[in-house]
């Protein structure tokens, strides 16, 4: 894919697209060297702050893409590479840092609050939504287990982890991990219970407990077929 010049428009377009996270990560990685050359020291006497806006958008979207590809330590390393002055005053980057802290400490409720309540710039809204969830409780996500790109979104990831961690769980606790209404779940809201049942979990009305069914997802580190793929590519070229 030909790399277009780094610009706010280009970044907004990428952030709003449905490009798979791994591809998005590849594209944004290539922009980092260029971003490093943009001066981050804003001059208040100048009205043109386009450079700072561009940097803010770049680093915020790159940060969110790290999360989307489940690279938490790398996301932390990225926050160290952001220009310090910008990192300390830019609201979007400040949101990223708060989000990182919550993700790092596995504070699920805080993560949902940060994603839903903090003011994220319009250009990042789609990425923020994608990180929170795509279509939670759609069993199709888990049935099409080859769709690795869907794994890594916070809600989906939490659902998978939860299904392995509990043999029996109260609906309110499960709802808390998934950013659902805990009060409603505690009162046995049938909508919430149905969603869990839709994932293969069972509901025991007598004990008031959900019994999760472990959700299996393929490992993203599937490298065994790389050799064959390379051979295929070579043969494909040869045959062509």
């Amino acid at each position: 894919m030909e790399l277009l010049p780094l610009s706010t428009e280009q970044l907004s377009k990428l952030a709003a697209s449905n490009v798979p996270p791994s591809q998005l990560f590849e594209v944004l990685s290539q922009y980092e060297a260029e971003a490093c050359l943009i001066p981050a020291e804003g001059d208040s006497s100048q009205t043109d702050n386009s450079g700072l806006e561009l940097l803010s958008l770049f680093y915020s979207s790159f940060f969110l893409t790290h999360l989307l590809t489940d690279q938490i330590p790398e996301a932390r390393a990225l926050t160290k590479r952001m220009p310090e002055t910008l990192r300390n005053k830019d609201p979007s980057l400040q949101n990223c840092l708060t989000l990182l802290r919550a993700v790092w400490q596995t504070q699920h409720d805080q993560v949902y609050q940060i994603l839903r309540r903090l003011p994220w710039p319009e250009a990042l809204q789609r990425l923020v939504q994608r990180y929170e969830s795509m279509d939670l409780f759609l069993p199709a996500i888990f049935q099409s287990s080859t769709d690795i790109s869907s794994i890594g979104f916070f809600q989906d990831k939490s659902l998978v982890a939860l299904s392995h961690s509990y043999e029996a769980i109260r609906p309110a606790t499960a709802a808390g991990y998934l950013g659902l209404d805990q009060k409603a779940a505690e009162n046995g809201d049938p909508n919430i219970i149905t969603k869990f049942i839709g994932c293969g979990w069972t509901w025991d009305p007598e004990t008031q407990l959900l019994h999760p069914k472990p959700i299996a997802v393929p490992s993203p580190h599937n490298q065994t077929t790389n050799g064959i793929r390379e051979a295929m590519a070579m043969l494909g070229n040869r045959a062509g």
Binding site: T146, S165, T207, A231, M232, A239
Partner: protein, 397 residues
């Protein structure tokens, strides 16, 4: 200019020595080394130390001795001119670094045996950078929490062969290695087998607070561990290891919980919190901490809430990861399916390639030659040799 031509001609004496006897060859090399040593001692070479293109006149394999002496002078001059430990041009990708690497790849080992002292000095400069590379690489892995890879990089540094003393870089690596071992395995690991015992003793005496910390960690006493961390606070700060040490304290809880799993089949969360978590931990925090450990894969266990909110939450330990086994099976299934698809596509491509190759000029030429052999009687490709494709040899008899 005269000096350069003198140097070139002195080195050229060693170029065509195949006709010389071993004795004469030996004399020539000795004379050449003596000549360059004299130039070095009289500082005559210093006058050309700034000439960056000087080494272009010499081939590192044919003019190994001249190359080594000039490179050494250039490195010394560069080091003298800066207050930095390592001048920029001596760092990887720097001009002198590249020259040194080029020399070390190509030098004539017979010639260089006569200039062992100078060669060793050059190696020491490069080896320091080699160690730094692995130390910094390990630090990158630490930032990414990839403890195993980090540990491997540090082991490369600490097991570096050394004659008598260890360098500061190696001691620094050893200190970090002790901490990384606690983070990864929860114990003080044994150094790599190739590390000589006297070097290990040196490390242990130079990194005593780290060894004490590791022993306290292994004993499983949290209050003593905290006391050790506080007592040597200045040491951790001075060594820039405070961050790692604070992670070690957190890892202590994790390893204590994991250790309990080796003794008990199941425990209530309250009991486990009493034994393995800080005293002030509430039930909710304890459960969420344990759930995080399970979710991260650090602990093989499952949690069970009690029916109707009556009774304690239980933690059931599993000897092997019970749920990942299911995941692994599904993973394997997915991989096999992928592999099957790949192979099918591969077969398709092979058939297609065969077809294309069958139409190529090279193949036609080959067939033509084959026919020639058949005609000449050298090679007799007949139906008996298995070339009759009409017969289905795999079919039922």
């Amino acid at each position: 200019m005269t000096l350069i031509s003198d140097l070139v001609s002195a080195s050229a004496h060693l170029h065509s020595t195949t006709d010389l006897s071993d004795e004469d060859h030996d004399h020539r090399i000795r004379d050449c080394v003596a000549y360059f040593r004299q130039l070095s001692s009289t500082k005559a070479l210093s006058s050309v130390a700034d000439d960056e293109t000087l080494l272009d006149h010499f081939d590192p394999s044919a003019d190994s001795i001249a190359y080594l002496f000039i490179l050494r002078v250039q490195i010394q001059t560069s080091q003298e001119r800066t207050s930095e430990k390592l001048p920029t041009n001596l760092r990887p990708m720097g001009k002198l670094w590249s020259r040194a690497v080029r020399f070390l790849k190509k030098f004539d080992n017979i010639h260089i045996r006569y200039a062992g002292q100078e060669w060793r000095q050059l190696i020491e400069v490069v080896a320091q950078d080699h160690l730094r590379y692995f130390l910094y690489g390990a630090m990158v892995y630490m930032a990414l929490k990839q403890w195993r890879k980090s540990s491997h990089f540090l082991e490369v540094v600490i097991s570096m062969p050394t004659t008598s003393v260890v360098s500061m870089v190696m001691v620094e690596a050893y200190k970090k290695w002790v901490l990384v071992g606690l983070l990864e395995k929860g114990k003080l690991c044994s150094p790599p087998g190739i590390t000589s015992p006297h070097v290990v003793k040196m490390y242990q005496s130079l990194a005593r607070p780290y060894i004490t910390l590791a022993h306290t960690f292994e004993r499983g006493d949290m209050s003593r561990l905290r006391a050790e961390v506080d007592a040597a606070g200045e040491v951790w700060c001075m060594d820039n290891n405070l961050g790692l040490v604070s992670q070690v304290v957190n890892a202590f809880y994790r390893h204590t919980v994991v250790r309990l799993g080796r003794t008990f089949a199941a425990l209530t969360v309250a009991d486990l919190a009493k034994q393995a978590l800080p005293p002030s931990t509430s039930k909710e925090v304890a459960e969420s901490t344990i759930a995080s450990l399970i979710m991260s894969g650090a602990l093989n266990a499952t949690l069970l809430h009690p029916p109707n909110h009556v009774g304690p939450t239980m933690l059931r330990f599993t000897a092997m990861p019970s749920f990942p086994r299911l995941s692994d099976e599904v993973d394997m299934q997915v991989q096999l399916k992928g592999e099957q698809q790949s192979l099918e596509t591969l077969m398709g491509h092979l058939v297609e390639s065969n077809h294309h190759l069958g139409l190529s000029d090279e193949y036609v030429e080959y067939v033509h030659k084959g026919q020639g052999w058949v005609n000449s009687g050298d090679v007799n490709l007949t139906e008996e040799d298995g070339f009759d494709m009409d017969e289905d040899i795999m079919g039922d008899p």
